[in-house]
């Protein structure tokens, strides 16, 4: 909240950043060596993978292959440039270097890889030559994370064979962030007991919601930073937590309305023990009553535990603890007014 108006939030900066979406970070480049048995042997030994189809011709044929195949997880290995290139760059700035510079300009100087998803199209066999190219798929708005405010950068790496046919794609996500400067009072703050300077250490994920047919819509909307309330399509009554059937009229038909994001603290807890490593303590958990009338369990941000009061007006805020989870939080409404 203290960063409003800084460069990282200006529309001009945002435009420059979003211009990277769809752009190539890495032009198609072939690996140094074709797919080969010695590298496969080193890999499966290091990984302790004893599947015989990687090294034993007859076992591979029995498994329906024409001969030995490379482990799918080696796709990236075939295109790595090796140690020398990583310590002695060739001096030609890549798209990646440029984007990294732009992010550093916004203060996002630290980086942590958050996830990698592979999709494999066909198995590689000895003799295949593999290339890789990388394109920016998405740059998220700034999100508050346990590590600090940052942006998730999603790129897609496409692996092709010599004929240009796609053999695998990899969706790769990094968090580029501003290291947190001080322990925040909010739930995304630093873990209790961690000394300063260890901020970059990743906080364990918050407990996952159990998603099912009846509640998925709410968490999906939250990922888009929309706080929705389930509404009966027949009698129009609102309900939360959601469920498949309207207790007022018995209808199974429902839709949602988007909450205005205003309410007041109905009750609250300041949690001290036991400490879950995903949260900073003391942790303020509240039941907020929305102006629409429904209540929800949530976290309060931007307020000291001692300053929380029942009846306090609050407005919607968002917490993005990790790329797969966004949760509504609330902050004092009067603090918001003062800031303006």
């Amino acid at each position: 909240m203290s960063d409003h108006g800084s460069g990282a939030h200006s529309g001009e900066y945002e435009d420059r950043l979003q211009a990277w979406v769809g752009r190539e970070l890495l032009t198609r480049r072939f690996g140094q060596d074709p797919v080969n048995v010695p590298m496969i042997r080193h890999w499966v030994e290091a990984m302790a993978d004893d599947n015989p189809i990687y090294l034993d011709e007859s076992a591979a044929r029995e498994a329906g292959r024409d001969g030995v195949v490379a482990p799918a997880s080696m796709a990236q290995a075939w295109t790595m440039r090796g140690y020398a290139a990583s310590v002695r760059p060739d001096g030609e700035p890549t798209g990646m270097d440029e984007l990294t510079g732009l992010l550093a300009e916004g203060g996002y100087t630290s980086v942590v890889a958050t996830d990698s998803e592979f999709e494999f199209e066909r198995e590689l066999v000895p003799g295949d030559r593999v290339s890789v190219e990388e394109v920016v798929e998405a740059i998220s708005p700034e999100k508050k994370t346990g590590l600090g405010a940052g942006r998730f950068i999603t790129t897609v790496r496409t692996y092709r064979d010599a004929a240009g046919e796609v053999v695998a794609t990899q969706r790769w996500r990094l968090l580029r962030f501003r290291p947190a400067e001080k322990p925040a009072q909010e739930p995304a703050g630093k873990p209790a007991g961690k000394p300063e300077g260890e901020e970059a250490e990743a906080r364990p994920l918050r407990p996952r919601p159990a998603i099912n047919h009846d509640n998925a819509f709410w968490f999906e909307a939250a990922r888009e930073h929309r706080l929705v309330i389930q509404r009966c399509a027949d009698c129009k009554s609102l309900r939360h937590p959601p469920g498949p059937c309207c207790p007022q009229c018995g209808s199974f038909a429902w839709d949602t309305v988007e909450a205005k994001g205003e309410g007041h603290v109905y009750s609250y807890v300041v949690a001290h023990h036991p400490r879950h490593p995903a949260f900073g303590y003391p942790l303020v958990i509240a039941v907020v009553e929305l102006t629409e009338g429904t209540r929800l369990i949530t976290n309060l941000t931007g307020v000291e535990p001692a300053d929380v009061q029942i009846g306090m007006p609050v407005v919607l805020d968002w917490i993005d603890p990790d790329p797969d989870l966004s949760l509504p939080a609330f902050r004092p409404a009067d603090a918001d007014a003062k800031e303006r």
Binding site: R208, D214, P247, Y266, H273, H276, P282, L283, I297
Partner: protein
């Protein structure tokens, strides 16, 4: 007229020692408690033909029946919702006996709740599935609201706001529990009373709850034997007649987090239990001489007193501060030391204390007790009993 009131009685009680590390399996604890209760009732394992426990118990009746030589069972049943099940097991047994479905039914609960799976650590890291029960935690655990103390603290804060109750008002409950436990050799906190100053000096767990507002965690087992009132009269101990036995789940009921009702300072499911108990027994709160009220956390004792008609709404704190719950008071309470002082056996040890009060054998016996009211877990679908002496 209901066939239930007075038809059945608790004729035997039995427990293991209460500890922090039993060093034995939960099944063995259950077997020991069940055998002790059968022996206390002057019966043999082969006399038992029904068993009831909690869905939360890990030892099915078949394991106990097999190990103790109970043999054939004609009735077996389980009650859900954690500690809310306690008195519900006795209701099941009493209904089975009253209808002739079974003759001798044992209710039991045994666990290594301290040395094994600790409920107090919360739900945060339990496995995720798509069941409605698990999905209910989706509205809590991602926000860090995952332990029983935190769930209760949310109610307690609102109660303080509406009625002006304070941390000291909660602390008085702990002081009484521990005073009674201090005189009970079976209690974990035997010989260790606390003062209100000790309570106020104890650290925060989940504000407004301090450490000494929170029940201990225990290993142990407790069992009860239910037979017909007629049969009980022929057994060694004076029967504890079951005049009332009721369950209750309120409107818009959730597990520990019914925060969405128009008001959250009461415990409507306990009010529902109380109304049934008085209707069944044809008694009023004025006819009840002692109470064993579920005390996993001190704040929810106050609204229980209100819901059960012992004092008006919002005046639980005054009722307690006036000394009514002490041994010489209007309604001696948790004479065994409660779960805070004796042991946390999911409310089943409180039912055993209710039986001792009727027998006149409590270590803190407050004189003649004709009727005692016992409750099960608060914040969850719950249950209650009125036990009475034979006329």
């Amino acid at each position: 007229m209901s066939v239930l009131p007075g038809a059945a009685a608790i004729a035997g009680i039995g427990a293991t020692e209460f500890s922090k590390e039993s060093g034995r399996s939960e099944l063995r604890l259950a077997c020991e408690a069940v055998l002790a209760a059968i022996t206390d009732a002057g019966l043999q394992p082969s006399d038992v033909d029904g068993m009831v426990t909690f869905t939360a118990d890990t030892s099915s009746e078949i394991h106990i029946a097999r190990n103790l030589g109970i043999g054939e069972l004609k009735f077996f049943s389980r009650i859900g919702h954690g500690g809310g099940a306690a008195c519900g097991t006795v209701q099941q047994a009493a209904m089975a006996v009253a209808t002739g479905v079974a003759d001798v039914v044992v209710c039991y609960r045994a666990f290594n709740e301290r040395s094994g799976t600790r409920y107090g650590l919360g739900q945060a890291d339990r496995p995720v599935d798509v069941s409605a029960d698990r999905a209910a935690y989706s509205w809590m655990t991602p926000f860090g609201l995952s332990t029983p103390a935190q769930w209760v603290a949310m109610f307690a804060r609102r109660y303080m706001h509406e009625y002006g109750a304070t941390s000291e008002d909660f602390g008085r409950i702990a002081v009484i529990d521990r005073a009674h436990a201090a005189k009970n050799p079976a209690a974990w906190f035997y010989g260790r009373p606390i003062t209100l100053e000790d309570h106020q000096a104890s650290r925060w767990i989940a504000e407004p709850l301090r450490l000494l507002d929170c029940c201990q965690e225990s290993d142990g087992g407790q069992a009860l034997v239910v037979v017909s009132a007629d049969r009980a009269r022929d057994l060694p101990h004076p029967p504890a007649l079951i005049w009332g036995a009721a369950q209750g789940s309120g409107n818009d009921q959730h597990m520990m987090t019914s925060y969405y009702r128009s008001e959250i300072t009461g415990i409507p499911e306990m009010g529902l239990v109380g109304r049934q108990l008085y209707a069944q027994s044809r008694l009023t709160p004025g006819d009840v001489q002692a109470a064993i009220l579920y005390d996993h956390f001190t704040p929810l004792v106050l609204p229980q007193l209100e819901e059960l008609g012992f004092c008006p709404k919002g005046e639980g704190k005054d009722f307690v501060a006036d000394g009514n719950l002490e041994l010489g008071g209007r309604l001696p309470f948790n004479t065994h030391g409660g779960q805070l002082g004796e042991a946390y056996i999911h409310g089943m040890n409180g039912i055993a204390e209710g039986v001792r009060l009727i027998r006149g054998t409590s270590v803190n016996q407050p004189g003649d007790v004709h009727n005692v009211l016992v409750t099960a877990g608060t914040g969850v679908p719950t249950s209650g009993l009125i036990l009475g002496a034979d006329a």
